[in-house]
């Protein structure tokens, strides 16, 4: 190549700029706090292959296939482009040195893949142009996106032009392997290898076009959101292996600062997350707060983190205080308090994120600072924190009333060796009059199935879930230690919970405190008992009409229990439950998680109303007069009961999965006429 010395200069310049820009951003990650993310390498590799190379979450959405095609085209064409650059720098070295039997198929692959990429890019551009954008968050169509798409398209066109011209000039002995390029060669004249028809000029033009686009792309990459091309794969490798809802413990000592108030209080992985986000918006679509016009948008939280990091980079590197606050008044690069408190910790954002960004834990970290350092939280929470601290339940009811639910039945206390399971009733199960019905129903079913169980009675304490999700880690720490001590001293090894929040806290969070016990949610136990034939139904429950199952976030998304409650409903009613449009992994929160149960919802539509409307519409689409929404969580129960009343949805009832089983255990003659 005659201009190859010019190319060398351009390439070295572009590579230097690329390295500088990429380093300038990625070096900021080192500002973050330490965090262990290199344990269990095999599992990390598996996650990386599944989510990065397998594009599992990208493909979960119909349009994901287009990204899949572009992604893999990119990977494959990396070889072709690498060859292009190497042979540009050192004309003697190229893939042509390979035997034709290997080079030929490679060229065929590049040719086809380039065509696919071109088509995918055209489709993507079409989608960007034709589909409506959610104008609440995207002010205008991002120029960046179109720029990148046109870069890719140009690269593909240049590829075909370049190889077409070569074929036209008869310089390509392996033209037979390149159907698309051969087709392109047709545009350059006879296509049969005769010289002097201008193809030589085209060859030079397309070669330089290809080179220019490639180098421009390289420079543009690190300064755009398309940085994810570099960071997404490592981000999947470094993703959290723990349950996402299990926030790390804190060490309490004098002069410690808790939670996150400055961007460098985040860990390095949190900062890497911000560079891995390509602002696809799947998290904001899934977020119940965003969907109901709350000031929180998980995508914005990640974007804010990046903006704040960039804005404060110089100051932080110089060891000074950041100039732009991370939490405070509304503005670019700052999260509002209202946004931080709007999160239900449902985890839908994390479930949706194709590159495994952890949005929700960052919100909890910011809450921690607000609560533990600034004592700045919605005033309703003062009551809650006081009640949890002083009386170990959210309502501040006397602990002696924990046993009131079983005034109508004999209940044994848990004694190690005599009783197998501890039935951890939970605060709602013990105090909330609606949930007490569930407790009694479950206790009855357990007795009829011959399960050996006991309770802690008035010695039971609150698990502390709300305190932890609300960032009051100090309170949670105290409660967790008390409970672990209680469980250890009573030699408890197996626990049944009826609340997914207790379930997840006992099972996952207490592990950080050294408590390794078997914790099962009652839906799991009921499914097992039904399967083993230990629950003998008196009749098939039809009086509840069609039953829709609503997934609790802490049972489903956070702990993967999806099938058990459904199998229970199917076994008891004889038909599979009705599914809401958003169910299982994509289920929509009831609005009470993350401590939202104890706060007012001042802005936008109420989350529970949105969910109830969705469920009722799904039920209405089914035949039948009566219908029931089945839940497996006391918070969901409250939210649905309230939501149905607010909507005036007559004829729709809410039942816990245990109540549906208890219904089936009632002798036929006792059946209530509904």
């Amino acid at each position: 190549m005659k201009h190859h010395s010019l190319f060398i200069i351009l390439f070295v310049l572009a590579a230097a700029v690329f390295c500088f820009l990429a380093w300038r951003r990625l070096s900021l990650i080192a500002l973050g706090k330490a965090e262990e993310r290199f344990d269990d390498i095999p599992r990390r590799l598996r996650d990386m292959i599944l989510f990065a190379f397998g594009q599992k979450k990208v493909l979960a959405r119909p349009f994901g296939i287009n990204h899949f095609v572009i992604f893999w085209s990119f990977i494959i064409l990396l070889i072709a482009n690498g060859d292009f650059i190497v042979s540009g720098l050192f004309p003697t070295i190229s893939l042509r040195l390979l035997p034709a039997s290997l080079h030929g198929p490679l060229l065929f692959l590049f040719d086809i893949v380039s065509l696919f990429a071109l088509i995918a890019v055209l489709i993507a551009s079409g989608r960007r142009l034709l589909f409506k954008l959610d104008t609440r968050y995207v002010k205008r169509r991002s120029l960046e996106g179109f720029l990148i798409l046109s870069f890719i398209a140009l690269l593909m066109i240049a590829y075909f032009g370049l190889h077409g011209a070569e074929i036209a000039l008869g310089q390509e002995p392996l033209a037979g392997w390149m159907p698309v390029s051969t087709l392109a060669a047709g545009f350059f004249g006879c296509g049969s290898g005769c010289a002097g028809c201008g193809a030589a000029c085209y060859l030079g033009f397309y070669w330089w076009l290809h080179a220019a686009v490639l180098l421009a792309f390289m420079i543009f990459l690190p300064i755009s959101k398309h940085m994810h091309i570099l960071t997404a794969i490592p981000n999947c490798f470094l993703a959290a292996l723990d349950k996402p809802n299990t926030q790390p413990r804190e060490e309490f000592a004098v002069n410690n600062c808790y939670g996150v108030v400055k961007v460098d209080d985040f860990t390095w992985k949190d900062l890497l997350d911000s560079f891995s986000c390509t602002e696809c918006g799947r998290c904001q679509e899934a977020c119940p707060a965003t969907a109901t016009q709350k000031p929180l948008n998980p995508r914005q939280v990640i974007h804010t983190l990046k903006t704040n990091l960039m804005a404060n980079a110089a100051a932080l590197k110089a060891g000074q205080e950041p100039l732009l606050p991370l939490t405070g008044a509304e503005g670019e690069g700052t999260n509002t308090r209202e946004a931080i408190w709007a999160c239900t910790t449902c985890g839908a954002c994390m479930e949706a994120c194709p590159v495994l960004i952890e949005q929700m834990p960052k919100i909890i970290k910011m809450r921690r600072h607000l609560v533990e350092m600034q004592s700045d939280f919605p005033e309703e929470l003062l009551n809650l924190f006081e009640n949890m601290e002083q009386r170990s339940n959210p309502w501040g009811i006397a602990p002696t009333e924990r046993t009131k639910w079983h005034t109508t039945m004999e209940v044994k206390n848990f004694v190690a060796g005599e009783t197998e399971y501890l039935f951890y009733v939970g605060c709602a199960g013990a105090f909330d009059s609606r949930q007490k019905h569930v407790t009694v129903a479950l206790a009855t079913v357990l007795n009829m199935a011959g399960v050996s169980w006991g309770i802690l009675g008035k010695d039971e304490k609150c698990c502390g879930d709300s305190a932890r999700r609300l960032g009051n880690e100090y309170l949670f720490d105290k409660m967790a230690k008390e409970n672990v001590e209680l469980f250890t001293s009573r030699k408890i090894t197996k626990v049944i919970t009826q609340c997914p929040h207790c379930f997840s806290t006992l099972k996952n969070d207490y592990r950080q405190y050294g408590l390794e016990i078997e914790v099962i949610h009652h839906a799991e136990l009921l499914a097992r008992l039904l399967q083993e034939g230990k629950i003998k139904l008196e009749h098939q429950v039809t009086e509840l009409g069609r039953v829709l199952y609503h997934d609790s976030c802490y049972l489903g998304r956070h702990n993967g229990v999806y099938d058990e409650p459904r199998s229970v409903i199917a076994a008891v009613t004889g038909v599979n439950p009705v599914e809401a449009p958003r169910s299982r992994e994509n289920a929509f929160c009831c609005g009470a998680g993350g401590g939202r149960m104890w706060m007012e919802e001042h802005e936008g539509e109420r989350i529970n109303i949105a969910r109830v409307s969705e469920a009722v519409a799904a039920l209405n689409a089914e035949q039948g007069a009566a219908s029931t929404i089945c839940v497996a969580c006391p918070y969901c129960m409250t939210m649905f009961e309230d939501g149905l009343k607010d909507k005036g949805a007559v004829g729709v009832k809410v039942r816990d999965v245990a109540e549906i089983v208890a219904e089936g255990l009632r002798p036929v003659r006792d059946r209530r006429v509904i």
Binding site: L384, R391, P394, W395, G396, S433, R434
Partner: protein, 442 residues
């Protein structure tokens, strides 16, 4: 040469429980026992191990129900009688010297004081309620009742204090006291205490009163009992301060028998308002306090009044008529307002009624709203979800009106009416009017 008589050791006796007297107050005898010889049984009554009892009488003294007495064997009793006879009926001096010194120290303090709280010259009614109670205490102690009036241009409040029962008023009137600030008021009250040594000081358990009382008690080194519901004087001239403890499950009577003044705060509306006697006169004692404006760190820049807001005080109301989702609409709350007006109360609401926009946020009762303790709480069309119950279950009387007989509100209701509230409420209002009319005729 006088005969040295070997003193006979005074028998101390052993503590024993008097049957059926124990009120299971919460193991005070156990906690006070210096030799840990008191165990509590299931019922919360003490089991005293007499072999270890040293007869220190601490459990006897602390027992609020006088359920523990000292037991002497016949021999000890004989010895005791002999000692008393030998001393010619004079009280024992040796063991009680400490007690006497204390009594002497405490006897310096005399008089009952009530702090008259004012904001921009507007007195808080709780102060007048406390003067009523203070009058009673002062009469029992046979001492005078004084009002503490601090502010700027507030002399008129002294006259009002006399009308509500004060014998005299200590007035500290200076520009520096125009607005309440902890530092200045604390200094003024402490100087008055040092000079006049009262034995009892009462303050309202308001935002201001809670702040000042705590600061004063700390500064003068005495005890303070917050949120008392009952105040009386025992036979040793000690103030018995009764308040709910452990979430209202028990009533605790708290004494401050070794320090003076004895301080207590009382929430508004707890004590009855005494009859005003206009024209009653008293002595105004003017005091100056050398507080300098420039020494006070806190400056009042601006006073933001909440007057223009819906300033109905749901939390402090004695009668509340509350409406929930069952009210069906905003317009139906006028029905509740009519009933509340007849009772002299206010209208409250559940969260759903507030959410629906039927009532302002300030009226919300429950976990995320106000916690109320009225004399009568009438819940209309409120099902009684736990979030609401925790905000009102401490009301003296709860009357629930609901169509659904299974509604959880009936679990906490003193009286439950299952029926259509659109018929029940007007019926109650009309009956009240009839009664009032009938009384008016007589």
């Amino acid at each position: 040469m006088t005969e040295v008589k070997k003193p006979i050791k005074k028998p101390r006796g052993k503590a024993q429980l008097i049957e059926n007297r124990c009120i299971a107050c919460g193991a005070r005898c156990q906690s006070v026992c210096p030799v840990n010889c008191v165990e509590m049984n299931e019922a919360g009554e003490p089991i005293i191990d007499q072999s270890r009892c040293i007869g220190c009488v601490k459990c006897v003294t602390i027992c609020p129900a006088q359920a523990i007495e000292m037991f002497f064997t016949p021999e000890e009793q004989a010895l005791l009688d002999q000692l008393i006879a030998g001393a010619d009926g004079k009280p024992e001096a040796d063991d009680n010297s400490e007690e006497l010194a204390l009594a002497e120290k405490l006897s310096v303090y005399s008089g009952v004081w009530v702090f008259v709280e004012q904001t921009e010259g507007e007195p808080a009614t709780v102060s007048w309620e406390l003067l009523g109670k203070g009058r009673e205490l002062a009469d029992t102690l046979a001492v005078s009742l004084a009002a503490i009036v601090i502010g700027y241009g507030v002399e008129n409040l002294c006259a009002e204090a006399f009308a509500y029962g004060a014998d005299k008023a200590y007035l500290v009137d200076a520009p520096v006291f125009r607005h309440y600030r902890t530092e200045s008021y604390l200094q003024a009250v402490c100087e008055l205490i040092a000079k006049y040594k009262p034995e009892v000081i009462l303050m309202g358990a308001t935002g201001l009163g809670r702040d000042l009382a705590g600061a004063v008690a700390t500064a003068v080194g005495t005890g303070l009992t917050a949120d008392c519901t009952g105040l009386s004087i025992d036979d040793k001239r000690n103030l018995m301060q009764t308040r709910p403890a452990f979430g209202g499950n028990i009533m605790a009577t708290i004494m401050c028998d070794r320090f003076r003044p004895q301080m207590a705060t009382v929430r508004p509306h707890v004590m009855p308002m005494s009859e005003k006697q206009p024209g009653k006169n008293g002595e105004i004692i003017r005091e100056t306090c050398p507080v300098r404006e420039e020494d006070i760190l806190v400056k009042v820049l601006d006073i933001i009044s909440d007057r223009n807001k819906d300033n109905v005080d749901v939390a402090g109301a004695e009668f509340i008529v509350s409406g929930g989702r069952g009210m069906m609409g905003k317009e139906n709350f006028t029905m509740l307002k009519e009933l509340a007006d007849e009772l002299g109360g206010v209208v409250g609401a559940s969260r759903s009624a507030v959410d629906a926009g039927w009532m302002p946020q300030e009226r919300q009762v429950g976990q995320t709203g106000k916690t109320v303790r009225p004399k009568i709480y009438i819940a209309c069309g409120i099902s009684g979800a736990i979030q609401h119950l925790v905000g009102m279950q401490d009301s003296d009387v709860v009357i629930a009106i609901n169509r659904d007989k299974d509604a959880p509100i009936f679990e906490v209701a003193t009286y439950g009416i299952v029926g259509d509230l659109f018929q029940v409420i007007p019926a109650i209002t009309n009956r009240l009017r009839e009664i009032k009319a009938a009384k008016g005729l007589k």
